[in-house]
Symmetry: D2
Subunit: 135 residues, 4 copies
């Protein structure tokens, strides 16, 4: 399994009038978490795009257990457990500074060739690093 932990501080802009982080704002947190996981493996998502590989999300699921509040310091635990093909699945667990589980989520993204707009295999260098970690 490939694992990574990312800390994110809740911004005022991300709360809603219930006093909690708006349910849609976790999508941006999970994006940060997976990008930082890739960076920890030596890959920049920005460079990936600049080389013509896009990675849109095709599936997104969240189960909300407890809300996050303003200024909470969240810990997002990201995991990859299956070697990507044309698709890559990340799972996430978000906890607050007291260790309370706030939510569990999963995103599946697909590697797309920017020029043709068609799905493609994950880049070889990414696969190589991930295969080592997953074996």
């Amino acid at each position: 399994m490939i694992e990574h932990r990312t800390q994110i501080r809740v911004r005022y802009a991300e709360t809603d009038r219930m006093g909690y982080v708006y349910y849609g704002n976790y999508a941006a947190y999970f994006e940060v978490a997976r990008v930082e996981m890739l960076r920890s493996l030596g890959f920049s998502y920005r460079e990936l795009e600049d080389k013509g590989v896009l990675l849109p999300v095709v599936d997104f699921k969240v189960r909300y257990v407890q809300p996050a509040r303003y200024d909470d310091l969240l810990d997002i635990h990201t995991r990859i457990s299956v070697l990507p093909t044309a698709r890559i699945t990340f799972t996430y667990e978000t906890r607050n500074q007291e260790g309370v589980l706030l939510n569990e989520a999963e995103t599946t993204l697909v590697f797309v060739d920017a020029e043709s707009g068609r799905p493609r295999k994950a880049p070889d260098d990414l696969l190589k690093v991930m295969a080592e970690k997953l074996s």
Copy 2:
């Protein structure tokens, strides 16, 4: 089945550098869609909250098929097919102005008493209207 259609114009702010609506921004679209459905049934979500009934999302799933683009006029088709108890489930289908299916989604929300913070039954007047529509 209770059904409702809501039109939403994509704002520039909601696109990302891929040129598409950012995957997390649909959460706000679905919120608009379900609030407008409730309004069409004679209920204001704002008044519901002012009376002490909160309705946080506990489960959210989206399957993305095609992206929405800037200035697209989206049609969100919202459905309720089961009478709510302490929970209420909405399903959504988003299409663009050409009728192309962009995504399918589902949100489950739970009725919460604002004072106690505990789950509660859906308000009686809401249940009555929904029971009539669903029968």
Copy 3:
């Protein structure tokens, strides 16, 4: 003077834990207001971009008088009082459904050639329509 009025319903996503619309979210409202003004003059901002004319904001000012709240139906009164050159200035007044002034704002945008990245004159057809209205 060229004038236009746009109605915007406040979304839950746009409120913050103070119960008000987050101060940064008005930027997206003003964008909608100016795009709808251009549409009312027969111009699609999307088509403008597709033809290679970008219109980034170079100056933005807001004076907040009263807050907007969830589900408020805002009326944004947009005005252009000077014929654009390479720059175009829009002013805005936002009122709620009771007619209370919420804020006053101004944005200046610059016409940029997408290919060269350099400022350029406003498109001729836009100038022609605006000159007629302003004379």
Copy 4:
């Protein structure tokens, strides 16, 4: 003068289809910058609110010079140069990782008593710390 520097990594969610950070998203960055400045002085904005002191923005100005792009690591230089009364003014300079000036901004916020909804003087302990730094 009171000064503070905050680093913010641009998220994908914050870009728009021009490939730049959407002009309205800097408001959230400046909020993070001023909150982190207060934290560096020993004050938690969250605690301030919990004690009944709100701090809404009444004036906001930005002059955009160059755009920020996805994954840029921004440096926001925040300054207070005048001792707050019922109002507090922060100025900001945003630069990217190459040191290029991206924008200059200013926000004025007003101290409000949460219960009465009326303006009030800045809290004494905050004033004391700021007076020392500014003298």
